[in-house]
Amino acid sequence: MKEYIETGRIKIDKSKHPELTTYHDPCNYARKSERTFGHGYYEEPRWIVQQCVDNYVDMYPNRANNYCCGAGGGAWAAPYAEERIYYGRVKAKQIKDTGAELLVAPCHNCRDQIMKSLRKEFDMMYLEVKYLWELVADSLVIEGVDDKEE
């Protein structure tokens, strides 16, 4: 996806996402990837997000020290909902502290936990949650399709 943007294979319109946006580092792409494969994907997704939005802020802590969404390791599908939500309180505070209105998560699990659970439990229904590829898809300018509309 980074290559598509870098080489101009897809075109992005930043004006579609003017709101303040933050990014959640999932454990698998970040810490675990670094430990298992020697490379943590911290900067690539941030670069992609910032091709789609101008108004960006990181959570604190972030990258390798980021807090888990609370539903990792299969917890989203496990029967311990109360514990999962309790776990997520730290994530919810991190998100609120940024003041962001849009959160980008590149992991199904993290996205579901934040969008379907934490927003409701921690009074954050104002927050919009998108997959990384959803953000890109929603920012696309498609030749031959969007030209006609204009």
Binding site: M1, Y4, R9, I10, K11, C27, N28, R31, K32, R35, A64, N65, N66, Y67, C68, G70, A71, G72, G73, G74, A75, A77, A78, P79, Y80, E83, R84, Y86, Y87, G88, R89, V90, K91, C107, H108, N109, Y131, W133, E134, V136, A137, D138, L140, I142, E143, G144, V145
Partner: protein, 227 residues
């Protein structure tokens, strides 16, 4: 109480090679959002492993409430392999006592090729239907299935065809815009491998093997996993 004969004592069950290096500093527990739940934390789990209380740890809820996110492992000054230890504790749980739907999903995936048991004909019908819907917005769009020689093999998270089918449009739109050559498969398209979560290496390998088989058969160049 029987005396413990050191040469005959039971070997440690849990993987994780270095709990004996633990300095008991508590960095792991201090940085973890679920410290205190059930009176447990990662520091206690390490001590349990070291003191031979493996079975007590395996039987506790802690290895399942812990999300194995690895923040503790990242912070550990002795670099102890805490994730491996937790996953191993899960692996030692009897399969019929794995909490929730996780193990059922694994069994379902081995039987039907996806975690939620969507039949092949329903899946293909859905893809075709969605393809027609998206083509109204993107002229000429269709969902490629089992296309030999496609550049990218795309696996699918079964929750999408099951509950949120239109979320598949995001990637499809990007491929369309980039004029990418891609394909999904009619069988064994599941991109979520719950064996990872349940500590079930054998099932996990089988699910991966099937994806690799598709990948080789269709002579693809890249593999895209959504999870």
């Amino acid at each position: 109480m029987e005396p413990l004969v050191l040469s005959k004592r039971e070997k440690r069950k849990l993987a994780g090679e270095y709990p004996d290096l633990c300095l008991t500093c508590g960095t792991c527990a201090g940085g973890c959002p679920v410290t205190g739940v059930d009176g447990m934390d990662m520091r206690k789990a390490v001590r349990m492993s070291l003191l031979g209380l493996d079975q007590e740890l395996i039987d506790s809820r802690f290895p399942w409430i812990c999300t194995i996110c690895g923040r503790c492992e990242h912070g550990c000054p002795m670099n102890i392999d805490l994730n491996k230890m937790m996953r191993s504790a899960r692996a030692h749980r009897e399969r019929d006592k794995v909490p929730g739907v996780l193990h059922k999903g694994v069994v379902q995936c081995l039987e039907s090729g996806n975690n939620v048991g969507i039949p092949k004909e329903d899946y293909l019908f859905l893809l075709e239907d969605l393809g027609v819907e998206l083509a109204e917005e993107l002229p000429g769009f269709e969902v490629p299935v089992d296309k030999k020689g496609a550049k990218i093999l795309v696996t699918i998270n079964s929750k999408e065809p099951f509950a949120e089918p239109e979320d598949m449009f995001f990637w499809w739109k990007i491929f369309y815009a980039a004029r990418e050559s891609w394909t999904t498969t009619s069988e064994n398209w599941e991109g979520v491998n719950w064996g990872l979560f349940t500590g079930d290496d054998e099932s996990m390998k089988e699910v991966v093997r099937r994806i690799v088989e598709n990948y080789k058969k269709l002579e693809c160049e890249y593999l895209l996993l959504p999870e």
